[in-house]
């Protein structure tokens, strides 16, 4: 447990000792605001944050892998992985410590979008439950992308490679649930298969949560996804620590 906290603390602080955190926060906050107004935040004349949340998956496809790519690739590159895994901690502790530190960082980034919520509250009487559900959905989705990013960061010592691979993996999971993809697949695949592909995608689960429907199947989808990719990350690290 002590090992987990030590890794967690170090990793979280390290985001802020490098310019990474600030660049990330500025870019994230700018684009989350920009996309919201482009979606028609005012034009919708509704006191809710739908316009804000719908652009989250697309934004996360690029930004979460950027926050995740250094987690293990950098340790391998600088050789500090040899230090980390000759200290008395288990691979599980290290993987979880890093994952939760990065997740907390993303949560901080999302928490900084609070002016959007204040604006909505100022302009009307929004359903707070809906906004909270939207944030919860975004946090869980960020966790899912992050777990994928962790895995691809662990398989390579090159940050660019791990970034590209995790963007592709995340994009596949997001686009599988988009209406255009589904319509296209429906032209040559049986309906049942199209249905199961879309239930595997982020989009479907994110949408239903973001609409305020908090179902066990959506939450468990993200939890299982995170656990699965992190377990894979742990196995990869355990098998191939050096090099």
């Amino acid at each position: 447990m002590k090992g987990f906290w030590a890794v967690f603390k170090r990793e979280f602080k390290s985001y802020f000792t490098t310019p990474l955190a600030y660049v990330f926060l500025v870019v994230f906050l700018f684009f989350s605001g920009y996309l919201t107004f482009k979606e028609g935040f005012f034009e919708a004349r509704q006191a809710d944050m739908t316009a804000f949340f719908v652009s989250m998956p697309l934004l996360f496809v690029f930004l979460v892998p950027a926050a995740a790519m250094r987690l293990w690739a950098e340790e391998r590159k600088t050789g500090s992985i040899e230090l980390l895994f000759t200290l008395p901690i288990t691979v599980t502790q290290a993987v979880l410590g890093k994952f939760f530190a990065a997740w907390l960082f993303l949560i901080v980034a999302m928490a900084l979008t609070f002016p959007m919520a204040i604006t909505v509250c100022f302009l009307g009487k929004p359903d707070m439950g809906l906004i909270l559900a939207g944030y919860l959905a975004s946090v869980l989705m960020a966790g899912g992308f992050l777990a994928i990013g962790c895995f691809f960061s662990a398989i390579s010592n090159n940050q660019v490679i791990s970034f590209v691979l995790s963007v592709v993996a995340c994009a596949v999971l997001v686009f599988a649930g988009m209406p255009t993809t589904m319509n296209y697949l429906a032209t040559f695949l049986p309906a049942g298969l199209v249905e199961s592909i879309s239930t595997m995608s982020f989009q479907e689960h994110f949408d239903s949560m973001q609409r305020g429907v908090l179902e066990l199947k959506d939450v468990s989808y993200f939890v299982i996804l995170i656990a699965g990719w992190l377990a894979a990350c742990g196995i990869v690290l355990d098998e191939r620590k050096a090099g």
Binding site: W5, A6, S14, G79, E82, P88, A242
Partner: protein
């Protein structure tokens, strides 16, 4: 295969010098002892703990300085050492004491608040050494601890090893043969992953009737050729 059937025992109070040409497998053996690499066959025990069954206890009992002195470059020396204390689960009251001790032992007071990436090679190595000593481990595994240090610093590190030798078990790898004579009371020479000699430096010199450097050359080049 980097290492083939290397087997040895070291006792408390002994300083074992691990010699061999580049690529002989010195670092591989040390990485295995520190539970970083897993041997395909065979095993090792440190303080009674097996590297397969109790890797965590093994790592608790060793201080390990890797060859390229890995550290988190963006951290300051102080933050880095505090992190190591944290992971090693040192109690809060002891952390301060332990820090004071290793910082003065390794002479890194002047760079304590500097980030590690700005340090010279010699200071980096001393920070690495401080990291390995901070929990006062019974077993020390040092991969080329004096590489990149100036003659004064080399001398200091040797003295440090000599001072600690009484109540610790130390394994040192090196290319520098005068160092073996200065600090080690036993030397193992390996090349191409095999042990070629295991004896005291004195005995080696007497046996071949020449200096240690010539012994080293005779043993290793002969076998490689």
């Amino acid at each position: 295969m980097a290492v083939d059937g290397v087997s040895f025992e070291v006792e408390k109070g002994q300083v074992l010098g691990f010699l061999g040409p580049n690529g002989a497998g010195k670092s591989t053996v040390m990485r295995m002892l520190a539970c970083f690499l897993r041997p395909d066959s065979g095993t090792a025990q440190i303080c009674g703990f097996d590297i397969f069954k109790n890797p965590i206890q093994v790592r608790q009992n060793i201080g390990y300085l890797a060859e390229n002195v890995p550290a988190y470059n963006e951290m300051t020396v102080g933050a880095f050492l505090n992190f190591v204390c944290d992971v090693r689960n040192l109690e809060n009251q002891k952390i301060k004491q332990a820090l004071d001790k290793v910082v003065s032992m390794c002479h890194i007071e002047s760079v304590y608040h500097q980030t590690i990436e700005t340090l010279s090679k010699g200071y980096k190595r001393r920070v690495g050494l401080a990291q390995a000593l901070i929990h006062d481990p019974p077993v020390l595994i040092l991969d080329e601890p004096t590489d990149g240090l100036d003659p004064n610093q080399k001398h200091e590190v040797r003295q440090l090893i000599g001072k600690m030798a009484k109540d610790k078990c130390i394994v040192v790898s090196t290319h520098i043969l005068e160092e073996v004579e200065a600090v080690c009371d036993r030397a193992i020479i390996i090349a191409r992953g095999k042990i070629l000699a295991d004896s005291t430096p004195e005995e080696l010199k007497n046996k071949y009737n020449c200096t240690l450097e010539e012994v080293f050359r005779k043993i290793t080049t002969h076998k490689v050729a």
